[in-house]
Symmetry: none
Subunit: 224 residues, 2 copies
């Protein structure tokens, strides 16, 4: 069950948002200002916060700041009154993830909420994404739009390392040290073979290319 906390002092708007979100299958909590919100977040499990900026007592900025300083890593959707560019900028500065301008379109709200949740879930299972490519460290999987490739451990770690620092050149020694471990004593050419296998597995990928830097080592180049 996804819990969304609505922080809004305008009771009517709050009611409307709650109704719409519940309608869409979310579990909704509510607070009338930032202080109340913090209390609820402390006590309950909250997955996403939708907060107005202008509120009595603790406002939306203070709330976001407080949340960022604690280690709750909640996605926050801000609501700014009218087109106050100042507000927007400030909101982003303190760590908002997205924002909407009043008057709020309820469809848009649903859309943004879904997007934020999707993002935060992806972020939680965490890994690396390069354009359309996504590497998942836990499943040793490389996903592109069409396919999902499961790699052997060593190959995956190697690709992960290279892609984590595109353009950076890694010597075979560096690679061996990090992926094989300092102590082991395997031939450096083994790296070549892994590179070769990665190359053939991803030869049809347009997004990146493993490049040999003669005399030094390998690097990855992001294309497109």
């Amino acid at each position: 069950m996804v819990n969304i906390l609505v922080v809004e002092d305008d009771r009517n708007l709050q009611k409307l948002m709650k109704a719409v979100l519940r309608q869409q299958g979310y579990n909704v909590l509510s607070a009338n200002d930032g202080g109340e919100a913090l209390e609820i977040i402390d006590k309950s499990h909250v997955d996403l916060v939708i907060s107005d900026i202008m509120m009595p007592n603790m406002n939306g900025f203070d709330l976001t700041e407080a949340l960022r300083k604690s280690n709750y890593n909640l996605p926050i959707l801000m609501i700014t009154a009218k087109e106050t560019l100042e507000d927007k900028r400030k909101g982003f500065l303190v760590g908002t993830d997205d924002y909407m301008v009043k008057p709020i379109d309820m469809d848009e709200m649903g859309f943004r909420v879904a997007a934020l949740l999707r993002r935060s879930r992806i972020a939680n299972e965490a890994r690396l994404s390069i354009g359309e490519i996504e590497l998942n460290y836990d499943t040793l999987t490389v996903k592109s739009k069409e396919e999902s490739v499961l790699l052997p451990k060593k190959e995956f770690y190697l690709l992960f390392k290279l892609l984590s620092y595109p353009k950076q050149i890694f010597t075979r020694q560096q690679i061996m040290d990090e992926i094989w471990g300092m102590d082991v004593d395997t031939d450096e050419r083994t790296v070549d073979v892994h590179i070769k296998r990665l190359r053939e597995k991803f030869s049809h990928f347009e997004e990146f290319e493993i490049i040999t830097v003669r005399g030094l080592g390998y690097k990855v180049e992001i294309k497109i």
Copy 2:
């Protein structure tokens, strides 16, 4: 984090209960009567309610009734004063899950709370459906369109776990810890045998496949 709401007008008893429950690692909220309780439940995420029956304003019966009518499906542990058989019967009628008689033994309370939580958790995730396949946790049964397979416990739990998080790789250790329990000391290879048996039982299923990830563990891949 498990949130327990204690609804009790006797401040001393309330304090004691809160202290004991917190001691046991729960997050505790409290209310002094049914009305307050409903408010809190509305705002916060509550996992279990412990409620006295006799209270000013809205009493325990009214509270349970209100909760059942709304679609909160919370486990409720009732507290009755003395051995009032009338109370017991009435409490159960309106949907209580368990009850205790005053004076309350704090150990007993802990035990009942744990039991209720366990039950409600199982009840909440008792069913899993993947496409046309449906797993029923209570009957240890896997149903597809044509057939219904009854599995031995261990096999079922293993499959259930894997199917609950498709694509996620589980190490043998993780599997043993969760299904066999942290303490037991059975050979990790036993997992292999269960996997093998699952594989032969479901080899003709088109919907999923158990995949070994060499050096890491197993995962399930949803096909079609």
